[in-house]
């Protein structure tokens, strides 16, 4: 890399290339934004779902579980748990934690009220209805 290819040429390509591809990225993000309403299940973003998302966040569920494949890998995927288990099971499960089974991975007791349990279920139902291009491969997540 010597001779005709100079440092200032390299620098100009750097700035030009970066600006070009960043603008292209912004354009794609803009297009995504307009395509999302058909995919992201926003019609079902009820107050209960929104409250459920906040419970999800303030209990740091993502610190053990994945949600649509993102998060921690210590406990099962929950993006499709509503389809796998149903709302009643989810509530009963959360209420009965921790199992205390010796040596088994433990989930904390969060002391959620009945309303909070309904909200978290609503959030997980909403999540399970997002169009994820057929991910996960099967119901086990």
């Amino acid at each position: 890399m010597s001779g005709t290819f100079t440092k200032s040429m390299a620098r100009n390509i750097f700035y030009g290339g970066t600006v070009f591809f960043f603008l292209l990225f912004l354009a794609l993000a803009f297009d995504t934004n307009s395509a999302l309403p058909a995919r992201d299940n926003r019609a079902n973003l009820t107050p209960s779902v929104i409250a459920g998302k906040k419970i999800w966040e303030t209990r740091n569920c993502i610190g053990c579980h994945t949600l649509l494949g993102e998060g921690a890998y210590f406990a099962p995927e929950l993006g499709n748990v509503y389809k796998r288990r149903g709302g009643d099971f989810i509530k009963a499960w959360i209420k009965s934690q921790p199992t205390g089974a010796p040596g088994r991975r433990q989930m904390p007791q969060f002391n959620l009220s009945d309303k909070e349990l309904d909200d978290i279920v609503a959030f997980l139902k909403y999540t399970s209805e997002i169009n994820t291009a057929k991910w996960p491969p099967n119901i086990e997540g």
Binding site: T32, T58, N60, G71, P76, A133, W135
Partner: protein, 459 residues
Amino acid sequence: MQYKSQAVAKLYFMAAIGLFAGQVLFGLIMGLQYVVGDFLFPAIPFNVARMVHTNLLIVWLLFGFMGGAYYLVPEESETELFSPKLAVALFWIFLIAGALTIVGYLAVPYATLAQMTGNDLLETMGREFLEQPLPTKLGIVVVALAFLFNITMTVLKGKKTAISMVLLLGLWGLAIFFLFSFYNPSNLVKDKFYWWWVVHLWVEGVWELILGSLLAFVLIKVTGVDREVIEKWLYVIVTLTLVTGIIGTGHHYYWIGAPEYWQWWGSVFSALEPIPFFAMTVFAFNMVNRRRREHPNQAATLWALGTAVMSFLGAGVWGFLHTLAPVNYYTHGTQVTAAHGHMAFYGAYAMVVLTIISYAMPIMRGRAANSNRAQVVEMWSFWLMTVSMVFITLFLTAAGILQVWLQRFSSTPIPFMQAQEQISLFYWLREGTGVLFLVGLVLYIVSFFVSGREKTSAA
């Protein structure tokens, strides 16, 4: 040391190493919880240990980057730091804020912490890597801006080299993209879409600029190769980084509700992301082979070459492994991801911080290089940590492939927890290797206290 004010870097480096040790301890706690599920429960649930592990990682790397910048910029700009006092003040603010945050995670339930710290005013908590309470996030922004002011003013009053410009750009980008951590819409798809503007555009974007410039600086110093050559390489590498890495963000948009064209954009561009890492490896070896001097600090040269190789393996090879959409469909959110996350973070960012520390610390302690004995201990720690990380990655990759097979690919898929039990052997092996990693880290810390005849020749 050419400029007095470079010495502030020492504080930052010491804090970085201390927090690194904390990070690894919590990694070992989690590694044990993977196989002995009720270990330390309910005192330290897994999700708490994980926040501590990953947040300490980010914070010690930030300390390392800032320390690196404080050391590098005066020397590149050929002038004293704009304000060493500000640098010292920011150090304490950042350290205390960081320590309080970790104490908060460990001492009170997360929901209580959220309530105490004003999460209701602006809900930003409870997302992976961005778990910090609002005051901590704001603190990060304030410290980052004041730091950038200090560094930018230094560059402006001195000489502007390619290395310091690329470093500055990387650091500004780091601060700017962090602002997306304040955007948390209730629409989960949008939340996830912009979350990656922090996480991906950091590690596969602007942080690579910081990586490249720190590495280029150390290579100039230890090889004595002409600056023109090294800086040209640096521009080529960071061009490749951003041209592939920005749109490469698409490899996170396959299955989160975004349009399906991202499977093409993401696969094609992210498949090219290994190229800049490969270029970095070629560059580093090339420069060392063409060296014009024998620098007495051989440990620093080893770290520099190690960074180049391990970042290519961790980010380039292990990233490529699962980046194409048809592969990622099966590996998304499994131990394969964890394997890659470990080797990439260690190989690229942990190692480049250890490289600049290895080069700069002896000089700040008044010698060109440490004694032979100290360097031998440091090199042992290099090999122990690096080889351990290679094996941790291999064990997690094996665990991940089995997990995918059992839970997602076979014709009779089994539930998550059952699959985890079947692969527990690999988690035990990972934990054992993790202990070896810790031994390497202890040795690394010990190397700072080993004496012997010091080397004083050329700096």
